[in-house]
């Protein structure tokens, strides 16, 4: 019998219990042993819910029970999640988590403890919800040097950008609608300003680089400045605007950035709409690949957590090596990265050409009193230099 304890009985924690119960037959077949949820930890009571029978309020009951093999952390936030996970690993229990904040900040350290204790720490659901991406990076794309990883990693903002694109609506209206539907939180900052996507690309970059990436060093822009007029320009260019979290190999390190981008129709991420997430990967041998699926939601996320649980249950006394050194990776300055830049200005063509030379002018339907144009490809530093003196209404990378 494999005994699981779930920390936190919110959306994901209750989803994990549901998946383990609903698909128990399949899990038992794969693991080769029975599996059950022995404890659920939560501060709250749930009168009338069958969870009552296994509900505990004191974490010590779980961490001191030698029968507990696997702890699922589904509380979110760095504390007390960090302390609990650390204690579990030190007590010789394996841990699965969906907590991106915890993994981005403490991943390397917790993996080290897991290695020392010959147990495992897994976090498939921390990036891309139900989409398998962590394990594919660690176990499937092992023959490749990953040269680029770019994701639509936040369902809230992708839903909003999709709505703005197909309905021509303004940002504020779409945000209200997303909040009403429960897709965006009352304080939407973490999503719309790109902080959530930033932590996720930090995790992915740490894994492909094999070293700790400090998410605070990743240049991050959100979608809160995107307007209905920008969408009109995007349509005139045959492009979509998506919030992309990107990491590119430059020399022996990586450059990472989170920003809205104008994507061409032939890019695999172009058609990823609504709350779906997707991760595009370019390997030096594989070429282009993409993983697509539900980036959030109770059961998809819980499905990824339980896939971790299955991996943990079939490797109870065997550490699965994950390369993620605690030594911080010095990221390449994003100012060195190149792209084309879409710019809107109230100045005239003469001013535009004085600044950028040859550009591609874009005429959006019904937009007057300003000029929109696409620059040639150049580095961020070159763009900063050239754009000085031009009155910029908007800039979006293409």
């Amino acid at each position: 019998m494999v005994n699981v304890a779930i920390l936190g009985y919110g959306t994901i924690g209750s989803g994990v219990k549901e998946v383990i119960e609903t698909n128990n037959k399949k899990l038992v077949k794969h693991i080769g042993d029975d599996i059950r949820v022995k404890y659920v930890l939560d501060l709250r009571d749930f009168p009338g819910d069958p969870v009552e029978k296994i509900l505990v309020h004191d974490y010590n009951e779980i961490v001191s029970d030698p029968q507990v093999d696997i702890v699922v952390e589904a509380m979110g936030g760095v504390e007390p999640a960090y302390t609990f996970v650390k204690q579990a690993l030190e007590a010789g229990k394996s841990v699965a988590t969906s907590n991106k904040a915890l993994v981005a900040e403490k991943g390397a350290q917790l993996l080290k403890i897991a290695q020392d204790k010959n147990v495992n720490f897994q976090f498939e659901a921390s990036v891309g919800g139900g989409i398998p991406i962590i394990r594919p990076l660690n176990c499937c794309l092992t023959a490749d040097v990953i040269e680029e990883i770019t994701g639509i990693l936040n369902g809230t903002t992708n839903y909003m950008m999709t709505k703005m694109y197909f309905e021509g609506s303004e940002y504020a209206d779409v945000l209200k609608e997303a909040q009403a539907k429960g897709y965006a939180e009352a304080d939407p900052t973490a999503d719309v300003e790109g902080y959530d996507a930033c932590r996720k690309i930090a995790i992915l970059t740490s894994l492909v680089a094999g070293q700790q990436v400090n998410f605070e060093h990743i240049h991050t822009e959100g979608i809160s400045k995107i307007t209905a007029t920008d969408i009109k320009y995007a349509k005139a260019m045959g492009r979509a605007i998506k919030l992309l979290a990107t990491s590119k190999k430059i020399g022996d390190s990586y450059m990472a950035i989170v920003a809205p981008r104008l994507l061409k129709e032939d890019h695999p991420l172009y058609g990823v709409n609504d709350v779906f997430n997707a991760v595009f990967v370019h390997g030096n041998m594989l070429g282009d690949g993409m993983f697509y699926g539900s980036g959030a939601g109770k059961l998809p996320t819980a499905s990824a957590v339980v896939a971790d649980v299955v991996e943990l249950a079939t490797n109870l006394n065997r550490h699965l090596y994950v390369e993620w050194d605690e030594k911080e990776l010095e990221l390449v300055d994003y100012k060195q990265s190149s792209s084309r830049f879409f710019v809107r200005t109230t100045q005239d063509k003469e001013a535009v050409e004085k600044a950028f030379g040859k550009v591609e002018y874009i005429q959006a339907e019904g937009v007057t009193g300003e000029i929109g144009f696409l620059t040639e490809e150049m580095t961020e530093a070159e763009y900063d230099n050239k754009v000085q003196g031009l009155n910029v209404v908007q800039m979006i990378r293409a």
Copy 2:
């Protein structure tokens, strides 16, 4: 030192050697040991090629060398590949292959031998080329009951359908062009009649069902009857025509079929064009997911083979369990599966409505002298029954 022997120095075999050499540093880091290609087996000589130094013509040199840990089978076809792989496994060597014919026919049996000998038999590259799909099914989607798996699994036919769609060209012209570009073989039957996709969906179905699926029992239609007129209708419906290999869970078994289908724009596979492949998966917890990438080509395919080699090298004395029983799965008759049917007839609306009742008529640009329509959803058996007596020019499932 991990020693690899490659059987066959064609496109994939030479690609495997190239990947192991080019990304050696990365592989060594992941495996924790040096890795090299010790032998390449081929009947031919390659004068002037560096492979000469490790080239052998007699398989016994490889199978009798206790230093060889891993054999990569890249010859294709069932024989002598089967005999060689079997001998390697029986000699305690692990095997990786990209050979779909071998895996579809002998997969269960070779896995059984690998299990008995405590070694491994892996075949990631046999389906979807470079796209990780076998390992994700075995290791990532383990918390889900897979209810559907549908793939664009043949790059040749997807290239042809894409060309026909975007250029309005006829089948015969596109085939000629594909042959000129080396995307289609001189005898294109295996690709265009769906036999290649059939073997691949047989492998995927065997894995999700955990039992041997006989590919000869899968109803298979190719693309050779698709015309430029069909494409006009598809465009009028806002759909694309793709050759899809589908497997759906019905009760305790699966229904599998290979056939061209009219896909709506919101389906994740709609935008998969050119030689790319993709596999759509629906899990009972995960919901929809998709894996996309290069379905063929020297380096992408070799990258998937070498990912197997890495997995084999890190599990040299440990059998990784794969559920694929030799007992044949009785597939559900595809006549029980449902879809909508797009039909073209030279008869009039009265005859159409007499047969099918309410239908959705489609007017394609410039097409006269016939009627095109979409039926309601019904089973194949119901369709067969209703369509009797109607003069059908074309039928494509939608």
